[in-house]
Symmetry: C2
Subunit: 151 residues, 2 copies
DNA sequence: CCGTATCCAATGGGATACTG
DNA sequence: CAGTATCCCATTGGATACGG
Protein backbone atom coordinates (compact mmCIF):
# COMPACT_ATOMS: atom_id res chain seq x y z
CA UNK A 1 0.00 0.00 0.00
CA UNK A 2 2.23 2.76 1.23
CA UNK A 3 5.17 2.75 -1.09
CA UNK A 4 8.40 4.62 -0.72
CA UNK A 5 7.65 8.19 -1.60
CA UNK A 6 10.13 9.72 0.79
CA UNK A 7 12.49 11.00 -1.92
CA UNK A 8 9.64 12.89 -3.51
CA UNK A 9 9.05 14.94 -0.41
CA UNK A 10 12.28 16.77 -1.02
CA UNK A 11 10.89 18.16 -4.24
CA UNK A 12 8.95 21.41 -4.42
CA UNK A 13 5.38 20.51 -5.32
CA UNK A 14 5.90 18.77 -8.59
CA UNK A 15 2.64 17.16 -9.59
CA UNK A 16 3.85 14.58 -12.04
CA UNK A 17 7.44 14.18 -13.15
CA UNK A 18 8.19 15.79 -16.51
CA UNK A 19 4.62 16.97 -16.94
CA UNK A 20 3.75 20.59 -17.18
CA UNK A 21 1.07 22.30 -15.15
CA UNK A 22 -1.36 22.54 -18.04
CA UNK A 23 -2.07 18.85 -18.23
CA UNK A 24 -2.11 18.10 -14.56
CA UNK A 25 -4.69 20.78 -13.87
CA UNK A 26 -6.84 20.01 -16.89
CA UNK A 27 -10.22 18.58 -15.83
CA UNK A 28 -10.80 17.24 -19.31
CA UNK A 29 -7.76 15.02 -19.00
CA UNK A 30 -8.97 13.73 -15.67
CA UNK A 31 -12.46 12.96 -16.95
CA UNK A 32 -11.18 11.36 -20.11
CA UNK A 33 -8.92 9.11 -18.14
CA UNK A 34 -11.97 8.02 -16.19
CA UNK A 35 -14.29 7.55 -19.15
CA UNK A 36 -11.78 6.14 -21.57
CA UNK A 37 -11.75 2.52 -20.58
CA UNK A 38 -13.31 -0.44 -22.25
CA UNK A 39 -16.72 -0.51 -20.59
CA UNK A 40 -17.59 2.69 -18.74
CA UNK A 41 -19.37 4.50 -21.57
CA UNK A 42 -21.31 1.41 -22.53
CA UNK A 43 -22.53 0.81 -19.00
CA UNK A 44 -23.53 4.44 -18.55
CA UNK A 45 -25.44 4.29 -21.82
CA UNK A 46 -27.38 1.23 -20.72
CA UNK A 47 -28.32 2.85 -17.44
CA UNK A 48 -29.37 6.09 -19.09
CA UNK A 49 -32.85 4.89 -19.88
CA UNK A 50 -33.65 2.76 -16.86
CA UNK A 51 -32.48 1.25 -13.60
CA UNK A 52 -30.95 -2.19 -13.97
CA UNK A 53 -29.47 -4.88 -11.81
CA UNK A 54 -26.03 -6.44 -12.00
CA UNK A 55 -26.94 -9.62 -13.84
CA UNK A 56 -29.09 -7.74 -16.32
CA UNK A 57 -26.22 -5.44 -17.21
CA UNK A 58 -23.86 -8.34 -17.64
CA UNK A 59 -26.28 -10.12 -19.93
CA UNK A 60 -27.11 -7.08 -22.03
CA UNK A 61 -23.50 -6.05 -22.50
CA UNK A 62 -22.32 -9.51 -23.35
CA UNK A 63 -18.64 -10.31 -23.10
CA UNK A 64 -17.82 -8.44 -19.91
CA UNK A 65 -16.42 -10.34 -16.98
CA UNK A 66 -17.79 -10.04 -13.47
CA UNK A 67 -14.58 -8.41 -12.38
CA UNK A 68 -14.71 -5.70 -15.00
CA UNK A 69 -18.41 -5.00 -14.55
CA UNK A 70 -17.93 -4.59 -10.82
CA UNK A 71 -14.89 -2.42 -11.33
CA UNK A 72 -16.66 -0.24 -13.86
CA UNK A 73 -19.75 0.17 -11.69
CA UNK A 74 -17.62 1.08 -8.67
CA UNK A 75 -15.84 3.75 -10.66
CA UNK A 76 -19.07 5.27 -11.91
CA UNK A 77 -20.52 5.18 -8.41
CA UNK A 78 -17.44 6.83 -6.95
CA UNK A 79 -17.71 9.67 -9.45
CA UNK A 80 -21.34 10.21 -8.53
CA UNK A 81 -22.56 9.24 -11.98
CA UNK A 82 -24.61 6.25 -10.86
CA UNK A 83 -26.12 5.13 -7.57
CA UNK A 84 -26.01 1.65 -6.10
CA UNK A 85 -28.89 0.18 -4.11
CA UNK A 86 -28.70 -3.04 -2.15
CA UNK A 87 -31.91 -4.74 -1.11
CA UNK A 88 -31.40 -7.12 1.81
CA UNK A 89 -33.27 -10.02 0.32
CA UNK A 90 -32.55 -13.66 -0.30
CA UNK A 91 -31.12 -13.98 -2.81
CA UNK A 92 -29.64 -10.49 -2.69
CA UNK A 93 -30.72 -7.91 -5.23
CA UNK A 94 -28.64 -4.93 -6.32
CA UNK A 95 -29.82 -2.18 -8.61
CA UNK A 96 -27.94 0.57 -10.35
CA UNK A 97 -29.49 3.90 -11.28
CA UNK A 98 -28.05 6.82 -13.17
CA UNK A 99 -27.86 10.08 -11.23
CA UNK A 100 -28.86 13.53 -12.54
CA UNK A 101 -25.16 14.29 -12.93
CA UNK A 102 -24.72 11.08 -14.85
CA UNK A 103 -27.65 11.97 -17.07
CA UNK A 104 -25.97 15.16 -18.23
CA UNK A 105 -22.84 13.24 -19.17
CA UNK A 106 -24.84 10.49 -20.82
CA UNK A 107 -26.45 13.11 -23.00
CA UNK A 108 -23.07 14.20 -24.29
CA UNK A 109 -22.03 10.65 -24.90
CA UNK A 110 -25.23 10.20 -26.84
CA UNK A 111 -24.11 13.03 -29.10
CA UNK A 112 -20.81 11.25 -29.55
CA UNK A 113 -22.70 8.12 -30.45
CA UNK A 114 -24.62 10.09 -33.03
CA UNK A 115 -21.40 11.40 -34.53
CA UNK A 116 -19.94 7.92 -34.70
CA UNK A 117 -22.95 6.51 -36.48
CA UNK A 118 -23.10 9.45 -38.84
CA UNK A 119 -19.43 9.52 -39.80
CA UNK A 120 -18.34 5.94 -39.39
CA UNK A 121 -18.39 5.30 -43.10
CA UNK A 122 -16.18 8.30 -43.77
CA UNK A 123 -13.69 7.10 -41.21
CA UNK A 124 -13.64 3.59 -42.61
CA UNK A 125 -13.17 4.98 -46.07
CA UNK A 126 -10.28 7.16 -44.92
CA UNK A 127 -8.70 4.16 -43.26
CA UNK A 128 -8.81 1.98 -46.33
CA UNK A 129 -7.49 4.85 -48.45
CA UNK A 130 -4.62 5.36 -46.03
CA UNK A 131 -3.78 1.68 -45.92
CA UNK A 132 -3.89 1.49 -49.69
CA UNK A 133 -1.48 4.43 -49.94
CA UNK A 134 0.81 2.73 -47.45
CA UNK A 135 0.93 -0.33 -49.67
CA UNK A 136 1.89 1.83 -52.63
CA UNK A 137 4.58 3.50 -50.58
CA UNK A 138 6.47 0.25 -50.52
CA UNK A 139 6.99 0.68 -54.23
CA UNK A 140 9.19 3.77 -54.61
CA UNK A 141 7.90 5.30 -57.80
CA UNK A 142 6.70 8.86 -57.55
CA UNK A 143 8.04 9.77 -54.15
CA UNK A 144 8.48 13.45 -54.83
CA UNK A 145 7.06 16.67 -53.54
CA UNK A 146 4.29 16.78 -51.01
CA UNK A 147 3.26 13.30 -50.14
CA UNK A 148 -0.15 12.15 -49.22
CA UNK A 149 -2.03 15.39 -48.86
CA UNK A 150 -5.60 14.42 -48.50
CA UNK A 151 -8.76 16.14 -47.40
CA UNK B 1 15.57 -7.77 -38.84
CA UNK B 2 11.92 -7.14 -38.27
CA UNK B 3 10.91 -10.57 -37.13
CA UNK B 4 7.38 -9.75 -36.10
CA UNK B 5 5.25 -7.67 -38.33
CA UNK B 6 3.80 -4.69 -36.58
CA UNK B 7 0.05 -4.88 -37.09
CA UNK B 8 -0.41 -1.72 -35.09
CA UNK B 9 -2.30 0.58 -37.37
CA UNK B 10 -2.32 -1.59 -40.44
CA UNK B 11 -5.17 -3.77 -39.34
CA UNK B 12 -8.56 -3.22 -40.85
CA UNK B 13 -10.79 -3.10 -37.79
CA UNK B 14 -10.44 -6.50 -36.31
CA UNK B 15 -13.16 -7.84 -34.09
CA UNK B 16 -12.13 -9.33 -30.80
CA UNK B 17 -13.16 -12.94 -30.20
CA UNK B 18 -15.90 -13.81 -27.73
CA UNK B 19 -17.72 -10.58 -28.39
CA UNK B 20 -21.31 -10.60 -29.50
CA UNK B 21 -22.54 -8.90 -32.63
CA UNK B 22 -24.03 -5.92 -30.84
CA UNK B 23 -20.70 -4.62 -29.68
CA UNK B 24 -18.70 -5.52 -32.72
CA UNK B 25 -21.05 -3.68 -35.03
CA UNK B 26 -21.39 -0.66 -32.80
CA UNK B 27 -19.68 2.35 -34.39
CA UNK B 28 -19.54 4.11 -31.07
CA UNK B 29 -17.41 1.35 -29.62
CA UNK B 30 -15.06 1.52 -32.55
CA UNK B 31 -14.69 5.28 -32.35
CA UNK B 32 -14.26 5.25 -28.59
CA UNK B 33 -11.52 2.68 -28.86
CA UNK B 34 -9.78 5.04 -31.24
CA UNK B 35 -10.29 8.21 -29.26
CA UNK B 36 -9.81 6.77 -25.81
CA UNK B 37 -6.06 6.71 -25.51
CA UNK B 38 -3.78 8.99 -23.61
CA UNK B 39 -3.06 11.65 -26.24
CA UNK B 40 -5.49 11.58 -29.18
CA UNK B 41 -8.06 14.01 -27.84
CA UNK B 42 -5.41 16.42 -26.66
CA UNK B 43 -3.67 16.47 -30.03
CA UNK B 44 -6.91 16.95 -31.90
CA UNK B 45 -7.80 19.81 -29.60
CA UNK B 46 -4.50 21.57 -30.25
CA UNK B 47 -4.94 21.23 -34.00
CA UNK B 48 -8.52 22.47 -33.90
CA UNK B 49 -7.56 26.13 -33.99
CA UNK B 50 -4.54 26.09 -36.27
CA UNK B 51 -2.06 24.07 -38.29
CA UNK B 52 1.01 23.04 -36.36
CA UNK B 53 4.24 21.17 -36.93
CA UNK B 54 5.58 18.16 -35.12
CA UNK B 55 8.00 19.90 -32.78
CA UNK B 56 5.43 22.55 -31.90
CA UNK B 57 2.92 19.91 -30.89
CA UNK B 58 5.46 18.09 -28.79
CA UNK B 59 6.45 21.28 -27.01
CA UNK B 60 2.91 22.48 -26.39
CA UNK B 61 1.70 19.14 -25.11
CA UNK B 62 4.65 18.62 -22.85
CA UNK B 63 5.43 15.15 -21.60
CA UNK B 64 4.67 13.17 -24.72
CA UNK B 65 7.39 11.04 -26.24
CA UNK B 66 8.32 11.13 -29.93
CA UNK B 67 7.03 7.64 -30.31
CA UNK B 68 3.60 8.37 -28.90
CA UNK B 69 3.20 11.64 -30.75
CA UNK B 70 4.03 9.94 -34.03
CA UNK B 71 1.72 7.05 -33.26
CA UNK B 72 -1.12 9.36 -32.28
CA UNK B 73 -0.72 11.53 -35.38
CA UNK B 74 -0.64 8.46 -37.62
CA UNK B 75 -3.84 7.19 -36.10
CA UNK B 76 -5.63 10.50 -36.55
CA UNK B 77 -4.38 10.75 -40.11
CA UNK B 78 -5.51 7.23 -40.90
CA UNK B 79 -9.00 8.05 -39.68
CA UNK B 80 -9.12 11.12 -41.88
CA UNK B 81 -9.32 13.47 -38.92
CA UNK B 82 -6.08 15.30 -39.63
CA UNK B 83 -3.90 15.74 -42.74
CA UNK B 84 -0.14 15.51 -42.92
CA UNK B 85 1.93 17.71 -45.20
CA UNK B 86 5.61 17.22 -45.89
CA UNK B 87 7.59 20.08 -47.37
CA UNK B 88 10.79 18.95 -49.09
CA UNK B 89 13.08 21.45 -47.43
CA UNK B 90 16.30 21.29 -45.50
CA UNK B 91 15.76 20.78 -42.68
CA UNK B 92 12.49 18.98 -43.38
CA UNK B 93 9.24 20.56 -42.29
CA UNK B 94 6.04 18.66 -41.56
CA UNK B 95 2.73 20.26 -40.76
CA UNK B 96 -0.48 18.77 -39.44
CA UNK B 97 -3.88 20.23 -40.18
CA UNK B 98 -7.30 19.25 -38.92
CA UNK B 99 -9.75 18.17 -41.63
CA UNK B 100 -13.41 19.21 -41.89
CA UNK B 101 -14.32 15.78 -40.56
CA UNK B 102 -11.93 16.28 -37.68
CA UNK B 103 -13.45 19.68 -36.99
CA UNK B 104 -16.88 18.17 -36.42
CA UNK B 105 -15.45 15.71 -33.92
CA UNK B 106 -13.35 18.37 -32.23
CA UNK B 107 -16.51 20.37 -31.67
CA UNK B 108 -18.05 17.50 -29.75
CA UNK B 109 -14.91 17.02 -27.71
CA UNK B 110 -15.05 20.69 -26.92
CA UNK B 111 -18.49 20.12 -25.44
CA UNK B 112 -17.05 17.30 -23.40
CA UNK B 113 -14.35 19.66 -22.19
CA UNK B 114 -17.03 22.10 -21.18
CA UNK B 115 -18.83 19.43 -19.21
CA UNK B 116 -15.63 18.42 -17.44
CA UNK B 117 -14.83 21.95 -16.41
CA UNK B 118 -18.39 22.59 -15.31
CA UNK B 119 -18.87 19.42 -13.28
CA UNK B 120 -15.38 18.54 -12.12
CA UNK B 121 -16.00 19.85 -8.65
CA UNK B 122 -19.11 17.72 -8.29
CA UNK B 123 -17.21 14.64 -9.35
CA UNK B 124 -14.35 15.35 -6.98
CA UNK B 125 -16.83 15.91 -4.18
CA UNK B 126 -18.58 12.62 -4.94
CA UNK B 127 -15.25 10.87 -4.93
CA UNK B 128 -14.18 12.14 -1.55
CA UNK B 129 -17.61 11.33 -0.14
CA UNK B 130 -17.36 7.80 -1.50
CA UNK B 131 -13.85 7.31 -0.17
CA UNK B 132 -14.88 8.65 3.21
CA UNK B 133 -17.73 6.16 3.38
CA UNK B 134 -15.28 3.42 2.46
CA UNK B 135 -13.13 4.34 5.42
CA UNK B 136 -16.10 4.12 7.76
CA UNK B 137 -16.93 0.69 6.42
CA UNK B 138 -13.73 -0.63 7.96
CA UNK B 139 -15.30 -0.06 11.34
CA UNK B 140 -18.48 -2.14 11.33
CA UNK B 141 -20.89 -0.11 13.44
CA UNK B 142 -24.37 -1.25 12.61
CA UNK B 143 -24.67 0.99 9.54
CA UNK B 144 -27.34 -1.36 8.33
CA UNK B 145 -29.72 -0.24 5.66
CA UNK B 146 -30.28 -0.13 1.99
CA UNK B 147 -27.26 1.82 0.94
CA UNK B 148 -23.62 0.95 0.72
CA UNK B 149 -23.43 -2.36 2.52
CA UNK B 150 -19.81 -3.46 2.35
CA UNK B 151 -18.64 -6.87 3.37
C1' DC C 1 -27.08 -13.45 -6.96
C1' DC C 2 -23.39 -10.39 -6.28
C1' DG C 3 -19.50 -9.88 -5.57
C1' DT C 4 -13.89 -10.52 -4.11
C1' DA C 5 -9.20 -12.57 -4.83
C1' DT C 6 -5.65 -14.33 -7.57
C1' DC C 7 -3.11 -15.45 -11.51
C1' DC C 8 -1.57 -14.28 -15.98
C1' DA C 9 -1.50 -12.79 -21.02
C1' DA C 10 -1.92 -8.76 -23.82
C1' DT C 11 -1.44 -4.09 -24.49
C1' DG C 12 0.12 0.73 -23.69
C1' DG C 13 3.45 3.75 -23.36
C1' DG C 14 8.16 5.84 -21.72
C1' DA C 15 13.40 5.99 -22.40
C1' DT C 16 16.87 5.60 -25.38
C1' DA C 17 19.49 5.20 -29.55
C1' DC C 18 19.84 5.65 -34.39
C1' DT C 19 18.61 7.61 -39.46
C1' DG C 20 17.76 10.79 -43.58
C1' DC D 1 13.62 18.33 -37.78
C1' DA D 2 10.99 14.44 -37.92
C1' DG D 3 10.83 10.40 -37.56
C1' DT D 4 12.06 4.54 -36.69
C1' DA D 5 13.57 0.79 -34.03
C1' DT D 6 14.20 -1.59 -29.45
C1' DC D 7 13.83 -2.54 -24.91
C1' DC D 8 11.18 -2.93 -20.93
C1' DC D 9 8.07 -1.98 -17.28
C1' DA D 10 3.43 -0.61 -15.59
C1' DT D 11 -1.31 -1.10 -16.33
C1' DT D 12 -5.45 -3.31 -18.32
C1' DG D 13 -8.39 -6.77 -18.42
C1' DG D 14 -9.90 -11.88 -19.03
C1' DA D 15 -10.36 -16.59 -16.72
C1' DT D 16 -11.02 -18.90 -12.82
C1' DA D 17 -12.02 -20.01 -8.11
C1' DC D 18 -13.96 -18.79 -3.83
C1' DG D 19 -17.25 -16.34 -0.19
C1' DG D 20 -21.58 -13.86 2.01
Amino acid sequence: MTEEIEPLLAQPLQIAPSWNAYQAACPTRLMLNRIADKWTVLVLGLLESETKRFSTLQREIGGISQKMLTQTLRGLERDGLIARMVYPEVPPRVEYTITPLGQTLAGLLGALRGWSEAHMDEVLQAQSAYDKAEQGALKPEAANGVRRVRF
